[in-house]
Symmetry: C2
Amino acid sequence: MLKSFVLSTLLVMLQTTAWAKPAAQVSSPEGALTIAIELDPDGRASYSVQRMGVPVIVPSHLGFIFANAPKFDRGLTVTAQAPRSVDDTWEQPWGEARTVRNRFNELRVTLTERNGPRRHIDLLLRAYDDGVALRYVFPDQPCLQDVKIAEELTEFSIATPGTAWWLPAFEWNREEYLYHRTRIEEVGQAQTPMTLRLDNGLHLSVHEAALIDYAGMNLTRVEARRFRAALTPGVGDAKVARRAPFSTPWRMLQIADSAAGLVASRLILNLNEPNALGDVSWFKPMKYVGIWWEMHLGRSSWASGAKHGATTANAIRHIDFAARHGFGGVLIEGWNRGWDGDWFGNGADFDFTRAYDDFDLEKVAAYAKARGVQIIGHHETGGNAAHYERQLAAGLDLYARLGVGTVKTGYVADAGQARVIGADGKDHFAWHESQDMARHHLLVVQEAAKRHIAVNPHEPIKDTGLRRTYPNWVSREGARGMEFNAWGRPGNPPEHETNLVFTRMLAGPMDFTPGVFGMKTNSPDGVATTWAKQLALYVVLYSPIQMAADLLENYEAHPAPFQFIKDVPVDWDETRVLNGEVGDYVTIARRNRHSRDWYLGAITDENGRVLSAPLGFLEPGQRYRAQIYRDAPHANWKDAREAIVIEERIVTSADTLRLQLAPGGGQAIRFQFLGPRP
Amino acid sequence: MLKSFVLSTLLVMLQTTAWAKPAAQVSSPEGALTIAIELDPDGRASYSVQRMGVPVIVPSHLGFIFANAPKFDRGLTVTAQAPRSVDDTWEQPWGEARTVRNRFNELRVTLTERNGPRRHIDLLLRAYDDGVALRYVFPDQPCLQDVKIAEELTEFSIATPGTAWWLPAFEWNREEYLYHRTRIEEVGQAQTPMTLRLDNGLHLSVHEAALIDYAGMNLTRVEARRFRAALTPGVGDAKVARRAPFSTPWRMLQIADSAAGLVASRLILNLNEPNALGDVSWFKPMKYVGIWWEMHLGRSSWASGAKHGATTANAIRHIDFAARHGFGGVLIEGWNRGWDGDWFGNGADFDFTRAYDDFDLEKVAAYAKARGVQIIGHHETGGNAAHYERQLAAGLDLYARLGVGTVKTGYVADAGQARVIGADGKDHFAWHESQDMARHHLLVVQEAAKRHIAVNPHEPIKDTGLRRTYPNWVSREGARGMEFNAWGRPGNPPEHETNLVFTRMLAGPMDFTPGVFGMKTNSPDGVATTWAKQLALYVVLYSPIQMAADLLENYEAHPAPFQFIKDVPVDWDETRVLNGEVGDYVTIARRNRHSRDWYLGAITDENGRVLSAPLGFLEPGQRYRAQIYRDAPHANWKDAREAIVIEERIVTSADTLRLQLAPGGGQAIRFQFLGPRP
């Protein structure tokens, strides 16, 4: 090997810890967190993160490999620094909390190449007290205007050993896997958010915010605890093709002492731009029922024929039920033409304006309107976003005319087999989290917003907090939902939802579709929770639209537990995470945005637990009627799922409740505001 | 999530072990190994490997994602099977063994899609008794002619836990890293060959053979012990672009009970096509000295000026030395114009026909010829293969005219920053193991062969056994070589070469350039071996061209140990691996192809060892003079590297030698044939 001495110097830097003094750094407002930029003698840039003097991220490389230009990696210097501080509070039009405080210190660091045309890229560093973030800003410069990113070199070197909860990346089934829990050194290729609990007790979530017109980031563990960004492949010769100026998404680390602290953080929202849509009061958070679970149970079909689920009569039956029980919406899947052929991963037959003959769309819509219920529209694409885009305006126009306020979209195709319209105007295969699909989803959201329609994509691109900027992007799937309990082999195990809370849910709302009482299904273990846990999921798994997923007859047969589903709100003023451990258990309390009632949900994995819930979140001096839905003493997810005790007691903020959760169980409580002692 | 029942059935297959009866299988000639193809109910194909009934590879997926067609993954059936058996023995023109037995059973399995245009791809399975291999054969079919491979889905799911020795993939410094030794579950993204020792004692090497016009394969560990092929990115919108018909490289598993068994295997050669060049007797295996180590020590420079190393006088000094001591070649680096600017990763200034003013190429070449020494040519490209190709014919013509029989090429550029001529005729950035670089290297080898020139690339594409087909591809680098001991921080630790033998060297010859006696360098630990180990490396690290890398004065000052370097041959009739453990120690004996002498080399890592070497490989009834170069009793790599004992004794095949290796030490022995007792 032939090698210059410059290289040998570099080796020193890579393989020892003799790092130079930071070239730039910024600390969080309370000083807990510091993010610093270092340059080695060869001019390679790294960042590191410390929390109260303890390394969290040890020096981790930054840079890019381009398809059409030399890489941006070596020979860099810091040529400018610009600090900025922000402390404001903003209001969510809907959400898990009404107000969010956005307080951070920012530093813009300009990295400039020493040689050649002196290309430069800005690094934007932000230090919050609950995490840090960085993004690259590509300025408008003649020598790097047509930017084709082959690889983003951003790394994440975790300072301390620990445990990781993660989903494998680039698998055929996209985001729908059971969570791995391994040592950090045993992670393979992971999706984000990835959650870590370090052996020193610190909790981290590695994710990204504001994924706009860029490829989704996965994480390749290169060696030991060093991860590297693995951008999702694109169409064409680069993973990302952009014209400068532009910014990358934020590379974000939530950092907290406890698992609960991760859930309480609003960092991902703060890293997104403010509401770009203005008044979105046309979207009303709501619960809904629908023609859906019956297909997953195999009782009816999306396709036409004798088993067709989306008939006019069935829709009207659901509308009646919704009106009777106070549900805002009815989802109707399989109403439109295109389901009879090989639609999976194809979708070219879908017609987004023409209904099957046994479904009278106009009549159903009129009937719903008359009963004060919204149809929730459905646009399954089979992953064929290209085909969908060609009908997008027509499909949304139709829904807008009919008063459909929310559309559930679907992208059922194997990973890598979605289809997009490329820059050449032709259709191309694409990954679900590719730059083109990121563009597609935002296009749908923006077109829908013009028509005052909210969007809820399934088999979606991951959530990166864009609901702040586009508040009609109300929910999505993006993990294993309830349907795996209908036919999955295996279905979702009892720990699944306790994993979700600390992983997938950190990204944002999930349309998980809880609330099933019929526990026997075609999956060997059926719905592997107790009834009380099904109720608790409405509080624990936040979404502004929440389905009551079960068959209507199961609700009609069990009015007592169903009462909680009818009562529980979907829009919150405030959220408190009372306790929790990743994958084990969690207790969350939330206050109804439109009353003084509080709601509590607690869930556990396969282990029974006794949790303590101090009610200090209630208003002092006020009395509440606690309507308690708890596991019976003998309840468990294996053979006594339906064993629920429903009882009431009067409580105040001075009380502490003892929550006894069965194996695979949970507890749901409504705290009905009564006012001061009379 | 919306999901068909086909999918749920698939989940059963993925997440349980209820695999169907193999659709096809083939066993090795002695029956030890079986490779089988399974299809799940969804028509996804997997292969598995068993050794005497014990799983080695559990069902591992096969298939492709294409950039320009639906993926080839599901809905497959086996529509044809064609077995074949071969048992022949072929001769290497040069090598570590004269003859190689090629004995295998093969099965060609046609996988055909049930739907659509019924595309089909053949799988070629081969079972040898020392390993198995599979390749995909793309036939000439109208619906899959222009093949653009986005991802190869081939997986390797290791049945049993164990230990892995591996290099991280897609790092900036290509193949030049220290080996990781981790549990299999802790591997990150690995290069091949990757060596595994399973907890049941089985040894595996995962690699590829016959990498022609295809992207090099790395391994991404997805989860647990499941690896997936990670093809090297290409230029354009695919990792591989080919026109059918064509075959992929072989995906190869060497399987042996012992580490020694891996080294003894010739599987990689057997998987390559026979010699395509005919008589290659114009290439003579040889040892060489050169103008090289002095640059790495900083005593002279590649660039012109006062420190320029490649002067006429220096070259003549080396030629004289080579002639005096029986070396066949003299390497001269830095002779040609282009070294004075920023050549690293650039190379556009290199002129492959014009020498610096202080180097009289014609005179040096004539002088070498007169003294019976070959100049070893040098073509450093700075990774700019595109620029090199434009001068390739001229550069090789010049060398051919001057009688230069071997060219050392170099591709010093960061990973991803090589440059190739794309299909559009323009220059593109490329990875060193991309399809375009695979094409480039073969082009150079073929153009050189036309001129009876052998090629020895540094910063090369990995070795996949192509020396069988193109025997002028004589050696290469492709791992950390000796130069890291000149300036590396760290340099190569004592275990490095014991790692190389069982990892990199499984791929083929390496131009490691051993034989340094001057142990103090600019690297903190200098050359971290004993002298005896330096000598042993000539036997242990096979290459048909072997450098005596040190400064000439160090050889002149130490004629006694230098004698072994003068004596040791570089072309062998037979090789025996007497013992070894991956990364710990190894003893190899080889017989000179041109005499009845045997040579033995033994090396150890940082631990001293006493090894037993039964001399049963010697001809029975014959006496040999064993010229022994061993570590002195107090020798060690830290402070007594030069402590060598040189002694002689008479031995026969009935003797067993006790090899006492110092920490970081070794032993080299020449067994000079004496004939029967007089």
